[in-house]
C-alpha cells in the first residue's frame, strides 16, 4: 500500500488551570495516497484537535505521524472560511503564497486559473462580503490549493452552509480534489457527507476520541457526492455508522 500519511498512537491532552482534558486517545491511521478519507465523530470529540496537530499548529502529547514524502506541503482548511474582509478575492486567494514568499508569476497565474476554473473570475476584484457562502468556501479552498499541497486537511468544510449549498459545494470540492489528485483528510460530523465523498470513513468514539470502526466505502457506480447518495449501499453504510455514533451518546 502506498500511504502518504501514517499516524501512530497519537494522543492529545489539554491542560488547563483547572483540569486535564483528554481529547484524543491513541489514534492509529493510514491515509492512502490520492484517496479521500473522512473521520466522523460527534462534535467536541477532538476532530479539530487532530487536524491542528497534523497541520503543525498544535503539539501532540504522545505518538508520531509521518509523511511518506519529505517536506510535505500541508493544505489546512479551517472550519470557517476565514477570508480577510479587507482583501479582495484575488488577494485572499494568494495570501498563503505571499506569506510563504512563493508569490511568483507562475503561481499567481495558477491561482487565476483556479479562480476562473471554479467560476470565480468575475469576482476577483470583489470583496468577500459580496459573495455567497458557497463561493467563499471555494475561495478558501483555492487559497489552500494555491500552495500545491501534498495533502489537504479539511475541517468540517461545509458546516457553515445551508443544506442546499452544502450539496452543491461538496460536489464542487470533490471535483476539484479529484481533478487535482490531492490526498485528502476530512473531518465531519455529517454521516451522509462522509459516505458520499470518501473512499474510507473512520468513526470516532466520544471524547476522548478513539477509533471505533473503519469502513471502506464501495458504492456501485461511484460518481459525484450528490449522485452517490442514491447508490443502493448508501443507506446501509448510513445506518451502520449512525449506530456506531449513537451507542456512545
Amino acid at each position: 500500500m502506498n500511504n502518504l500519511l501514517e499516524i501512530s498512537h497519537i494522543s492529545k491532552n489539554y491542560i488547563t488551570e483547572k483540569e486535564e482534558i483528554e481529547a484524543i486517545k491513541d489514534i492509529t491511521l493510514k491515509v492512502e495516497k490520492g484517496s479521500i478519507l473522512t473521520i466522523v465523530g460527534s462534535s467536541g470529540c477532538g476532530k479539530s484537535s487532530l487536524l491542528s496537530i497534523l497541520a503543525g499548529i498544535d503539539q501532540k502529547t504522545s505518538g508520531t505521524f509521518t509523511f511518506s514524502c519529505s517536506n510535505p506541503v500541508i493544505g489546512y482548511m479551517l472550519q470557517s472560511d476565514s477570508l480577510f474582509p479587507w482583501l479582495t478575492i484575488y488577494e485572499n486567494a494568494i495570501l498563503g503564497l505571499i506569506i510563504q514568499k512563493k508569490d511568483t508569476k507562475e503561481n499567481k497565474e495558477y491561482v487565476k486559473k483556479l479562480l476562473s476554473t471554479y467560476k470565480l473570475n468575475d469576482f476577483m476584484d470583489k470583496y468577500p462580503n459580496e459573495l455567497s457562502g458557497g463561493m467563499k468556501q471555494r475561495v478558501a479552498l483555492i487559497r489552500t490549493l494555491a500552495l500545491r499541497p501534498d495533502i489537504l486537511l479539511l475541517d468540517e468544510p461545509f458546516s457553515a452552509l445551508d443544506y442546499q449549498s452544502r450539496l452543491a459545494i461538496s460536489d464542487d470540492v470533490y471535483n476539484i480534489i479529484k481533478k487535482e489528485g490531492i490526498t485528502t483528510l476530512i473531518v465531519s460530523h455529517d454521516i451522509a457527507e462522509a459516505i458520499s465523498m470518501s473512499d474510507k470513513v473512520v468513526v470516532l468514539s466520544k471524547r476522548p476520541c478513539k477509533i471505533k470502526k473503519i469502513y471502506e466505502i464501495h458504492l456501485t457506480d461511484k460518481r459525484t457526492p450528490m449522485k452517490n447518495r442514491q447508490a443502493k449501499e448508501f443507506n446501509d453504510y448510513y445506518n451502520k455508522i449512525w449506530k456506531d455514533l449513537d451507542i456512545n451518546v
Binding site: 503543525g56 499548529i57 480577510f84 479587507w86 495570501l95 498563503g96 506569506i99 510563504q100
Partner: protein, 262 residues
C-alpha cells in the same frame, strides 16, 4: 425611482431640515433670553455677563490678534499630544500583545492609573517638568495614553482566532501576523477610538493650561477668573466649545474617510 420613494425621501429631508432649524432657534432664543435677563438686571450682569459683552470681548481679542495666538497654542498642544498619544499607544499595545507576560504583570497598574483622577498629578508634573509646554503635553498624555493603549490592545485581542490559526498554518512569522492580520483587522477599533481620544486630549491640554500656561484658551479662562473678569471667562468657554466641536468634527470626518477605504 418611484414617486412614492421620492415622496419618502422628500419627507425625510424635510424632517432633517426641521431639526436643524429647531436647533438654530434654540441657540438664538437662549442668547436672546440671556441678553434680555442681563440687560434688565434680572440676573447680575457682573457675574453672568451677557452675549453682547462676550461678543465684544471676543471681537476685540480677535482685532488685537491675541485670540489667534491662544487658539493656535491650544490647537498645537492638542494635535501634538494626540499624535504622540496614538503613536506611543500603538507601540506599547504591540509590545503588550507580543509579550503577554508583560501585559499580565502591568494589568493592575494600568487599571489603577486609569481610574486615578489625573488632575491630582498636575502639581507634581509642574515641578518635575517645569512650567512650560512640556508639562501640558505630559498632562494630556497622562489622560489619553492609557485609554489609547487599552483601546488598541483590546482591538488586537479581539482578532478572530480562526484567522490567526490560518496564518499559523501558513507558517507565518510574528511580524507577518502583525502586518497581515492583527493591524489591519484591529484598524477599525483603532479608528473608532480616535474620537474619544481627541476629547480626552483636549481635556488634558486645558487642564495643563490651567496649571501652568501663559497662552492658550485654558490660560484665558483661568486668567479671567483671577482678575474676576467673568466676561473673559465665558468668552474663553465659548471659544473652547466651538473649537472642540470643530476638532471633533474633523476627527469624525477623518474616521469616515478611513473606514470607507476599508
Amino acid at each position: 425611482m418611484s414617486s412614492e420613494s421620492l415622496q419618502i425621501i422628500k419627507k425625510k429631508k424635510r424632517t432633517k431640515r426641521r431639526i436643524l432649524i429647531s436647533q438654530i432657534l434654540i441657540v438664538i432664543l437662549f442668547f436672546c433670553f440671556w441678553e434680555f435677563l442681563s440687560n434688565k438686571k434680572i440676573i447680575n450682569p457682573f457675574i453672568f455677563s451677557s452675549p453682547s459683552k462676550i461678543w465684544n470681548t471676543i471681537f476685540s481679542l480677535a482685532l488685537t490678534g491675541e485670540l489667534w495666538g491662544h487658539i493656535l497654542t491650544t490647537l498645537y498642544e492638542t494635535i501634538l499630544a494626540f499624535g504622540i498619544g496614538i503613536t506611543l499607544g500603538f507601540i506599547i499595545a504591540i509590545l503588550l500583545y507580543e509579550l503577554p507576560i508583560l501585559a499580565k504583570i502591568i494589568d493592575p497598574f494600568l487599571t489603577m492609573l486609569n481610574s486615578l483622577p489625573k488632575v491630582a498629578l498636575g502639581p507634581m508634573i509642574l515641578i518635575w517638568t517645569g512650567a512650560n509646554t512640556k508639562s501640558i503635553i505630559v498632562m494630556a498624555l497622562l489622560i489619553n495614553l492609557i485609554v489609547s493603549i487599552m483601546n488598541i490592545y483590546n482591538g488586537f485581542l479581539g482578532v478572530d482566532p480562526m484567522k490567526l490559526k490560518l496564518l499559523q498554518s501558513f507558517k507565518a512569522t510574528k511580524y507577518q501576523i502583525l502586518k497581515y492580520l492583527i493591524i489591519p483587522e484591529s484598524m477599525r477599533t483603532i479608528i473608532s477610538s480616535l474620537k474619544i481620544n481627541i476629547s480626552m486630549t483636549l481635556i488634558g491640554v486645558i487642564m495643563g493650561e490651567f496649571l501652568v500656561s501663559k497662552k492658550g484658551i485654558g490660560y484665558l479662562i483661568i486668567y479671567g477668573t483671577q482678575v474676576f473678569n467673568l466676561t473673559l471667562v465665558m468668552s474663553g468657554i465659548l471659544i473652547l466649545i466651538i473649537l472642540s466641536f470643530l476638532i471633533y468634527e474633523c476627527v469624525s470626518y477623518i474616521e469616515k474617510k478611513l473606514s470607507k477605504n476599508r
